[in-house]
Symmetry: C2
Subunit: 248 residues, 2 copies
DNA sequence: CGCACACTTGAGTAATGTCAAAGAGTGTGG
DNA sequence: CCACACTCTTTGACATTACTCAAGTGTGCG
């Protein structure tokens, strides 16, 4: 872990005797939307923040529930999904450190969220947050930016779900995960899969078995090396990229 | 067509001798994001607007091109899509009167757009538009709202592409289209399909043939009545809704 | 009238899903 | 420390859905 970039929150809290907030020691701040706010503005945001912890496989958000909180993932991994009445599930995204959720268009959440690993989440009451949103244009602009990114990512994923083969889908996931994290200290790109095969399948619109078989093929053909079922070395990232792009 | 709601744009333009803009006679204004702006603010927006026409099957936006314009569909239908190098195409959305496009996260468009029918589009230079965005918080808030809706719609569509059967997909499309427009004056809900079977297929992640077969089955089982290949009467909207929801 | 284009329908195939069993990894309690 | 039990993963055999290829059937437009 690198030291967090110097910021004034801890110092100010100490010097003015401000109520300490979970934000004071937030490791995800640098990656989070909150980072656009500085000094006093940031403290106003921090003042309404509340931290919550979840163990793996706990429900964080239930589709349809009143959207009373905005949330920011501080650590751990979360899956966002929608489900059909008979249980078929589509994971629409995995969230990690610094990602936010819970900004639905209406009064209720339109998706569900469940912890994949142990998770720390920073919550903001919606009302208070929206007040700050009006007060701090930079915050609103930052959120707009994030939401725009989310749409582009959604388009990408629709292309995957609607038009890619199983092989291309799995390759896409690996490449995508490799882009996020430099796992381990190795120079070969590598991904740590916090989710199960079934969750990968629900993300890729496949079955667990197809995901497993596809990974096995990648292993047999030397594209990846499984150090363990959830720790994969991407031996030929270039090839995986081409497959993911639908070029092979 | 009902008369557009009374607004001041035409009157003001006349009384103050303001440069006439395409917005003066825009039939889509009531449905568009621009409607949040009133009076002088609206005129500032109108001042940077430029109208463009397209015939059916023309390229409006090319993925990767510099995103110099924001656009608002004034009339007609547009498809938004992404494609793989070998031509496989995923339509991520159909736009109609009052829908906007062209707000990518970065400098270039991340999707392509093509006219399905004859189309009128209102374009705003990006720079100027962003200046207005900063000036008029209500505009930014409205756009945020639209973008949030778009994300929820994208989640819906991911569920469809990843987990629904062909039958459920086609039913979903019909229900969705029926929700948008009250086509004709009939009391039975009815949809007018401006797009081809192939375009429906590219939207639903299927092939043309599967779409056609599925519609035929719906016809044979009395769920719909085809007044022509592109004019469908939804005889049992309730049943279609249940199928679309994955309940049958 | 006939050509072109989109749509429909049919027959066979391929990719992925389903069901089932065996294997691997992990943690717990004896 | 080992053995058992649990869960997740892998692999196999088979079923099914949707795709591919191909031949017809409208329908509108020149």
């Amino acid at each position: 872990m690198a030291d967090p970039p110097a910021n004034d929150s801890i110092g100010l809290a100490a010097s003015f005797g401000r109520t300490p907030s979970p934000c004071d020691h937030c490791g995800a701040r640098a990656r989070s939307f909150c980072d656009v706010l500085k000094g006093q503005e940031f403290h106003q945001l921090a003042a309404i923040a509340l931290s919550r912890s979840f163990e793996p496989r706990q429900t964080i958000i239930q589709e349809g529930d009143p959207a009373d909180f905005l949330m920011n993932v501080t650590s751990g991994a979360v899956k966002i999904f929608r489900a059909l009445p008979d249980g078929r599930t589509q994971v629409v995204g995995f969230l990690g450190e610094g990602d936010f959720m819970g900004m639905p268009p209406g009064e209720g959440y339109t998706v569900s969220a469940e912890s994949v690993t142990a998770v720390e989440i920073c919550t903001f009451p919606r009302r208070s947050f929206e007040r700050l949103l009006k007060e701090f244009p930079s915050l609103e602009r930052r959120l707009f930016e994030l939401v725009s990114n989310e749409i582009a990512a959604a388009h990408d994923h629709m292309l995957l779900l609607g038009r890619k083969t199983a092989r291309e889908r799995v390759a896409s996931l690996l490449v995508q995960m490799a882009a996020k994290e430099h796992c381990g200290n190795v120079h070969k790109p590598c991904v740590k899969l916090a989710m199960t095969r079934a969750e990968m399948a629900d993300y890729l619109g496949l079955t667990m078995e197809t995901v497993s078989r596809t990974l096995s093929t990648f292993r047999r053909t030397g594209l990846i090396l499984a150090q363990s079922p959830d720790q994969l070395l991407l031996l030929r990232l270039d090839a995986l990229r081409r497959i993911a792009a639908g070029a092979d």
